[in-house]
Point group: C2
């Protein structure tokens, strides 16, 4: 029997790749997605399509209300910045940062992992071609794992959860190349922070620019569906 | 102006005392409660009454669905154990443990603290007269704080959140004595894991037994409303 693992699946490129890696590595994939009042809710539809395409064991979509707190362009009525990537500007944390988002997501993953008896949690954070979010850094992930092992029954009675971040040191081009070799259909994924109702990408936000550059660097065709008049 | 602090307010005895401590210590109290599909939802009503009685600056009740995962007598259709406290039996973690509950609650508190610019988060965990939950221990709280400081913009750009647990080494009797001196009306609070629809306590679950003993040890009258035929 395959060991269960919880995989955070956002509907984006990175997490789809991580789900494929978990499957390759012999895990029974328990995919976990969130509807958090985000602008880009077509992401959740994408997560559903990816979960089906991969044939995961289980896919849960949990509704949480991050809008209750506000404080981010991804959940508030603040414009998503366009036409520059984070690295073009400051090293500041961008307005698309959602306070404590990965901490909340990982906390739910931890809860579910304990209920299903999974020792492993995988997520697609990346500290190379990323948007400058503090909760994507290796030191954050290590601290979360240390906390998780003290938080849970599984940690007290055994080893507790291991948090895997197989993409943390990969470039976007490396991620795409790996995913394609594992059969990931990136046409199903959505990276855009501000997609339209059809899930078509704006081509101009930080996340679109990183994705587009990734495909170019990998020398692969970009299967992203862009909004009318936009070129990836 | 008073500094803002986020206080986790469950509607129980401990968190009501912590809210009063935060107020005494000059914080503008931003109380945070959760409806998480728990059996004892009268707790949330209690949290509302306590927040009003204390005159907090703000009180948010966030709906989260821990039932989605199951795995606890507090959220599933599993009987709550009666007539013994945890210390009477094994050192095992009891069935009323909710996987990763405090981690999820603290994650939301962390998100809100960052949005309102609060450096302080207070919660009423207790490692003395407690139910044996791993996420009530000092080492867990320290690990959460270390993680939190790496997780957030506030932690990257400044010190980040400090997690205060003023009751962690106090006995239930000490907590009650302190709370009474601060004017806490414990008649508003609910500790029971299995209250009836009126919020009256069963008098027999772990939490009721600890609370009742606390009032006896403090030499104070127990204002708890018990279900018909039950004596505290």
């Amino acid at each position: 029997m395959r060991k269960p693992a919880v995989v955070l699946l956002s509907g984006g490129l990175d997490s789809a790749t991580v789900a494929a890696i978990a499957d390759r590595d012999g895990f029974a994939v328990h995919a976990l997605s969130f509807e958090y009042g985000q602008r880009h809710s077509p992401e959740v539809d994408a997560a559903r399509r990816i979960a089906i395409a991969l044939g995961v064991d289980q896919h849960k979509v949990v509704k949480i209300d991050l809008r209750a707190f506000g404080g981010s362009a991804l959940t508030d009525d603040i414009d998503v910045p366009k036409d520059h990537t984070q690295s073009d500007t400051e090293s500041d944390i961008p307005i698309t940062y959602v306070p404590a988002r990965n901490t909340i997501f990982l906390s739910y993953a931890l809860a579910w992992s304990e209920v299903i008896g999974a020792d492993d949690i995988l997520l697609g954070v990346n500290a190379v071609d990323y948007s400058g979010y503090p909760d994507c850094r290796p030191e954050y992930i290590e601290a979360f794992q240390a906390m998780a092992r003290l938080a849970t029954k599984a940690g007290v009675e055994g080893n507790g959860a291991t948090i895997h971040t197989p993409l943390i040191h990969a470039t976007k081009a490396e991620i795409i190349t790996l995913g394609v070799s594992l059969g990931v259909d990136y046409g199903l994924t959505i990276s855009c922070y501000d997609p339209d109702q059809n899930g078509s990408a704006c081509g101009r936000c930080d996340s679109c620019l990183l994705r587009s550059k990734g495909f170019r660097d990998a020398g692969l065709d970009d299967p992203t569906s862009y909004q009318p008049g936009v070129r990836g």
